[in-house]
Symmetry: C2
Subunit: 426 residues, 2 copies
């Protein structure tokens, strides 16, 4: 801890004196943040267990008790790194190259307060979500409450979006223009859409979770996809270059601290990441999507989560019984995970029956008819993968989910950069 | 909870439609925030005890176990109120009266991004401090670490201070001008001063704490003093009116939620407020002092805390033995608090002896010579009050501390508005 802090301070001094380009500084902070996370998580495990932030890993033979909510360490390191980083993109104003006019009315080009506002509001939203996630880990907040917390946490970025961009119209895809015209102004609805995006990003990672390494694994793939997409824009003399730099400043340290944490969370885990990590990760994606104005591209990278959510809906909305935990079942004799099942009492209601029939035709469920009930697998992506590939070792299932996520990202890039021509004239 | 939320939403709708002046809205939010805090604290007590956030009240005969860290509820309600409040001071820009220019270069008067930056950075610092305070309550962070946390949490406001004001010179008081001249530019040191002010405000409330109602009591007196001082400036056609409005927007809801909490924390307490509240309160004062640029006036209101800190120094810096707890001792037979004592082994070191002698001359300590040791009262304001006034009931001691705080505030106003002429030409 001390050594890494010293390295950190040392790097800081050097960096402050030479004032290099912010992107290199961001990469430096990402590496330092990753190292500090890696070190701190292993040091703080005991304190977390002492204060009852712990859980049993049920997918192991001896069911060890390990620290829970370690995402809060990762998120705190991230926020601290960002606190120290924020001055760098504005360094020219601090070194005297840019002249700050502090008068009330702006008649000369002056300090880009609106840019600083973006950073501050993004930090505020991220910190709110981390705080709420941690509170959730401690108090186990009710579902219907925690669903809306991200919407509240996104107020600062929505407000800054309003004053900095205020764009609320969307360009309609070509095939639909005969109905809606070329451009439609959603007005206030666009803000509802962005708040819902924050709700979706945070909660969807939280429901594709529960086995070692899968929360961070999927988040890392999404984060890397966003970073790659950002780098594509940096090569052009693109007007969006500043927005994508902003995105990189937030995504790169996220990748750093996530790698620092996954070292401890990969199979066999020595720590759990908790809801805190899922919320923190989801909010990071929502923030860069909204403030860098490519929310649709971010949502493309969420294809597996969107699928998992839609697939889960019949259970989430209680059309079909939803047990408290829908995680794959651990079989100690084979040391593998099998898909978990739920028994639905007969007679089934009409809509439930239709859903099961449709999912059966699509090959998404496996049913077993019994006397008084129908047994069916739980509707989650992980159970579906186990249904298709047979029982798998926990590590292999995590890798499989990550591969699915990578394939989805490839598909997203194809949609974004090739198929887009069928929908928009670019 | 539901009812208050409904009232809250209802009020919000009405307010949004009519767009009245932000100060009335702020007062409205303060009342609503206070009500929600009052309601939530009583509802959430059980959940706090369930997750082990609890403590025994040692100054009662039966030593009841009550919820700890309830300051986090109060601070969260405050932050939520502020989230909803922030748009109001900028309402003219949202209703179309002001024209937002979103182009990169500012040639026309446009949205006051720098003002919004002040709000966002203040929120960020407050939220950081709340988060760190809560983490401290849970993990019991080491003294030498937590001393510096407020300095990190103040980075956002210091940065915004730099770009919005950048004033780092101080006017030297008349009696000292023969040495330093009229004005001295502290430069970078001024930022160190502000960070240290944040450290002082947060930690000094935390060391004048420990009996029912005293943390909130003193904070309320300070907050009201700041509010009164702000209102004095509103009556003038003062150039500082905007700064003092900013201060009011942050102080009024603070007063609201603090009243909501003190109802439960007043003798006999049903909840403890925790380090979270002390940090949150201290940071609120530091934030308004720094961003509204009257940090010296805020420090004047901290006279009892400054006295308590200086008085405590010999123990804090281990010149004289410092037991883990220096709280007044509860005497169950009289149901009163008595000053607590510490035994210092003979022979005493020279500096310790000098300190005790000087304090004795000043009437600040009472010693009792024993064979191998000297018994002396612990060096805190509360013990001193008990030394002077004799054993007191817990409620009376809390009232006494609050009276001292009020008298100090009166003195501060006299210094600020009468004696100031001896030091500055105003």
């Amino acid at each position: 801890m001390l050594i890494t802090t010293l390295i950190f301070l040392f790097a800081l001094t050097i960096i402050y004196n030479t004032a290099p380009d912010p992107l290199s500084v961001s990469i430096g902070f990402s590496i330092i943040g990753g190292l500090i996370t890696w070190k701190l998580v292993s040091e703080l495990g005991e304190s977390f267990i002492n204060v009852n932030l712990k859980g049993r890993d049920l997918a192991k033979v001896n069911e060890p008790t390990i620290p829970e909510s370690m995402g809060v360490v990762c998120a705190t390191v991230y926020l601290m790194c960002m606190f120290f980083f924020i001055p760098f993109p504005f360094m020219e104003w601090f070194t005297g190259k840019g002249i700050i006019s502090r008068s009330e009315e702006f008649h000369a080009p002056t300090f880009p307060h609106h840019k600083l506002g973006e950073f501050l509001s993004a930090m505020l939203s991220l910190q709110s979500m981390t705080f709420l996630g941690f509170a959730d880990d401690i108090f186990d907040i009710r579902w219907r409450h925690k669903l809306f917390l991200p919407a509240i946490a996104s107020i600062p970025i929505l407000m800054v979006y309003y004053v900095n961009f205020g764009i609320t119209h969307i360009v309609i895809p070509i095939p639909l223009r005969f109905m809606f015209g070329r451009i439609i102004d959603l007005g206030f609805l666009y803000y509802i859409y962005m708040a819902m995006m924050a709700m979706f990003c945070t909660n969807s990672i939280n429901i594709l979770a529960g086995i070692n390494g899968v929360e961070i694994g999927q988040s890392l793939v999404i984060a890397c996809s966003i970073a790659i997409n950002d780098f594509l824009f940096l090569n052009d003399a693109d007007p969006a270059v500043e927005a994508h730099l902003f995105s990189l400043y937030f995504i790169l340290p996220f990748i750093g601290v996530s790698i620092g944490l996954i070292i401890h969370n990969w199979y066999p885990s020595s720590v759990f990441v908790g809801d805190t990590y899922c919320y923190f990760a989801g909010m990071t994606f929502a923030v860069v999507g909204i403030l860098s104005h490519f929310s649709k591209t971010v949502l493309l990278f969420f294809i597996p989560q969107i699928f998992n959510f839609i697939y889960s809906c019949p259970q989430l909305f209680r059309l079909i019984d939803c047990p408290r935990h829908r995680l794959p079942r651990f079989n100690p004799s084979t040391n593998k995970l099998e898909y978990s099942k739920v028994k639905v009492q007969k007679p089934l209601k009409k809509p439930a029956l239709y859903v099961i029939r449709i999912f059966e035709i699509l090959g998404l469920v496996k049913t077993k008819d019994e006397n008084n009930s129908i047994e069916v697998n739980n509707f989650t992506l992980m159970n579906l993968l186990l249904l298709k590939f047979g029982p798998l070792h926990e590590r292999k299932l995590a890798i499989l989910v990550i591969i699915v996520q990578i394939l989805a990202s490839c598909l997203s890039f194809i949609i974004r950069y090739r198929l887009v021509h069928f929908f928009y004239e670019i």
